[in-house]
Every structure is written in structure tokens, then in C-alpha cells.
């Protein structure tokens, strides 16, 4: 289940950044992918839509955190929402 969250988050990041999926790992940062602040906000929005969760306003704000941070944030938000894998609305 956890791996599923991780791969779905990384799929979204790859799709939104237009990068090859193989280049996107939990060790990558948004900065590495050349994602600017507005693109990062859109990416977080797509992730929120896909999992039906709300992430913190400053999530991915400076782009220097690894994507593991984003994956962790989704796990925490899902746990908060009381389900392991959210409704796959736009996944």
C-alpha cells in the first residue's frame, strides 16, 4: 500500500514536470527537476486531488526537500483522513 502511494506521487511529479519517470525517485528534489514555485503549487494540487487530501500550505515551497518528504506528507494526510489509500479521483 505504501509503495503504491509512493509510485503514484512520483508518477504525478514525473507527469507534471515532463520528466522521464525513471529520473524521478524519492531522492530527487523539485529543484533537481527544474520545477519552479508555481509549478510546485500545481503539482501539490494534483497530488491533493488524486488522494483526496489536504497538504500543508508550505509543502514543497522551496523545492529543496526530497520527494520522500512529499510522499511522507501524503501518508500522514491519509492516516489523518482515516484511510490507507484515498479515493483515486484523478489518479
Amino acid at each position: 500500500m505504501n509503495d503504491d502511494v509512493e509510485s503514484r506521487v512520483l508518477d504525478i511529479v514525473a507527469r507534471q514536470s515532463g520528466k522521464d519517470r525513471a529520473a524521478v525517485t524519492t531522492e530527487t528534489t523539485l529543484k533537481d527537476l527544474g520545477v519552479d514555485s508555481l509549478e510546485a503549487i500545481e503539482m501539490v494540487f494534483e497530488i491533493e486531488e488524486a488522494f483526496g487530501v489536504q497538504l500543508a500550505d508550505d509543502q514543497a515551497r522551496d523545492g529543496t526537500e526530497t520527494l520522500q518528504g512529499l510522499v511522507d506528507a501524503v501518508h500522514i494526510a491519509l492516516a489523518h483522513a482515516g484511510h490507507a489509500a484515498g479515493p483515486a479521483r484523478a489518479a
Binding site: 519552479d36 514555485s37 508555481l38 494540487f45 489536504q54 500550505d57 509543502q59
Partner: protein, 410 residues
Amino acid sequence: MHAVDRTAMPRVVVTGMGAISALGHDAHAHWRALLAGQSGIAALDHPRAAELRVKIAAQVRAFEPARHVDDRTLPLLDRVSQFALLAAREAVTAAGWDPETTPGPRIAVIIGTGIGGETSRDDECRKLYAEGAARVHPFSIVRAMASAPASHVASACHAMGPVFAVTSACASSNHAIAQAVLLLRAGVVDVAVTGGAEASMSYSVLRAWEAMRVLADDTCRPFCAQRKGLVLGEGAGMFVLESATHAAARGATPLAELAGIGMSSDAGDIVAPSADGSAAAMRAALADAGMRPSDVDHINAHGTGTVANDVTETRAIHDAFGTHAARIAVTSTKSMHGHALGAAGALELVATLGALRDGIVPPTANFLDRDGACDLDIVTGGARRMAVRAALSNSFAFGGLNAVLAVRRA
């Protein structure tokens, strides 16, 4: 830079101002609250506040439009036009100007607004899409159109010359005032009623701001290390601008000279501000006013309280002013009246003119610790009594649209 011979052009003076904001319903109340460092930011008052993540805003409180507008006119007016009308009437009264004494075609009204009659538009859309209504109110268009505030103010002050709205997001007020200055200098009109108005806190717009993740959840702390973002505001600021000769002929005492305007576009990122673009607008305003950097004692900053704006604006002030930057008293009154978007520049010009007139600069409220990246003389703690010979008021909008006003003692 292209040198303009300004000696042949009429000087433009401000003879009256009016305001309505979270700090009060007239310019005096707005100014007194700013001097006291009193913040108008409070819990969001909205029918759907419980559902929203936006919890705070700087809203106009206890406003009863029926006290200011007759029964027949009121249904035509969105909240944004109500604000504009109230502030314009105050400015005209303060100027001691009877519009009937000036030929209508020689009067302009130019009003900035980011979005116009937003809450009317949102209400009608809700009825249509959420409630399945078959029709919307017949006044929907005239309430919502962005030029409605300008039209209503024109009717109220007999303006039959150029009347229109200007929109450039958060720089709308300053761009509008700049157009008025240009028309006065060109001799197209003798008087202009100009400024900005905004009242955009609809459910959908609040949701849209949430989605941008630029709102602070505590308060607005411009230039401060702990700043977390902007806080939305609303209101209107209006001014009577005249050619100096028109003002003198009717025996008016100017509040100040609107000495220079500077406009620039970053032609770059849709949200990230550019220090070069901001500095270019400040330099242009100085050149237009015939001011040297060392003439400027005070800047009312754009100072939104976002991480990006305040650092970029600091760099721009250093770029434009060089070593003199350290000697300029800088403040962001958005810490108190919030970010009133299209009305921001107008509410801030009221503050800038107050500083010039009274020799006192309002503080940047809610300030905790200095941010090394914002190394300016930020006025904090309380208002600072000082001689202000000349001042700038900065507005830098999303989309890279910059407009700066330069004022000096008349």
C-alpha cells in the same frame, strides 16, 4: 534615459483624499489607526467561513451601505462600487471642490480594480450552478462590470470627460492614478477623481487564494523573519487630482504634489517578482519627478509579507537607491489594512500623503525579528516622527506589472 521637459507641463497636485478600509470608513480613521499601529486583521467574517482554510482577513466592518446610498441606486451597486462612491465623495468634500464649478468634459474619473463586482458575480453563479436557478438578477452585468465603480463615481461628480477602469491586479490603483496624472499633464482635463477599489472576498475567490498557498494563517508580518504570507484586505482609496493652476484658481490648498509616476513590466514570470522590474519602476518615478534618490525620505513598500516579495523588493530598493537606501524609512502598511489588491495602492497613498503632511511614518505592525535578507530601515514598534520631503509608494503586481508613485510637499 529619455529626458522629458516637464517645465512646459502642468504640475499635478492632490487636493483631497478619501478612504474606507478595515481600519475605518474615512481617510482620517484609516490614517489614525495606521499611526497607532492598529491592525485591521481579524477572524474572517463570511457565511462559509467554517469550511474555508482562510481564517483571517482585513475586512471593512459594520458597513451599512443603505446609510450612504439612496434606495433606488443601492440595488445597482456591488460592494466595490459602494466603497468607491463613499471614498470619492469624501475626497471631493475634503478637496472643497464643487464639481458643478468645473465643466463636466474637463473632469476625468479613473479607478483601478483587480476584479470589479466579484461578490455579485459569485452570488449569481451560485444561484445558477448550485441552486439550479433558471435566471439571474437583471442587474448582474451592471453590478459586476469592472468599470462600474468609475461610472458611479462619474455620475456623482458630474464627470463627462475620460472615465474608465484600469486593471493590473495589485498595481491597479497606481496604474489608474498614473493615467490621471498623464491626462492632467497633457491638458486633457483639469480635475481627475482617481484611486482604486476592491471587494473580492467571495467564496470562490477565497478558495482561489487558498489554492495559491500564499496566505498567512497568523497575521501579516512584512519584512519580518517570521512572515508567512499575505492577508487579504478590501476597501477603496480615492483622490482629487488637479492641475496646480486649477487648484490655485479656486483657492485650494494642495495636500501634496503628485510629482512622478513610474511604470514597468517584468515581461517574465506570471507570479515571481523581479527586482529589475521593480527597480526600473522606482527609477522611472524618480526621473519623472525630477528627483534625486537622496530626495526620498520614505517609501511605503508593496511589502505583501510573502517570502518572495519582501526579499525582491528589498533588493530592488537597494538597486534603485544605492547607498541612500539605508537612509530611507520603509514601511508596509499592509500589516494593518491587509492586501487590498486593486485598492492597495490607493490605501497606501493615503498613508504616504499622511506621512508627508504630518511628518510621521506609520509602523510596519506585527513585526517580530528582522530578516537579514530584508536589510532596510523598516519602521517597526511605533510610528516615527521625521521630516518627509518626498516619498514613494510602490505597487508590484502578479504578472510583473509595476507602478510607483512619487509625491513631495506642494
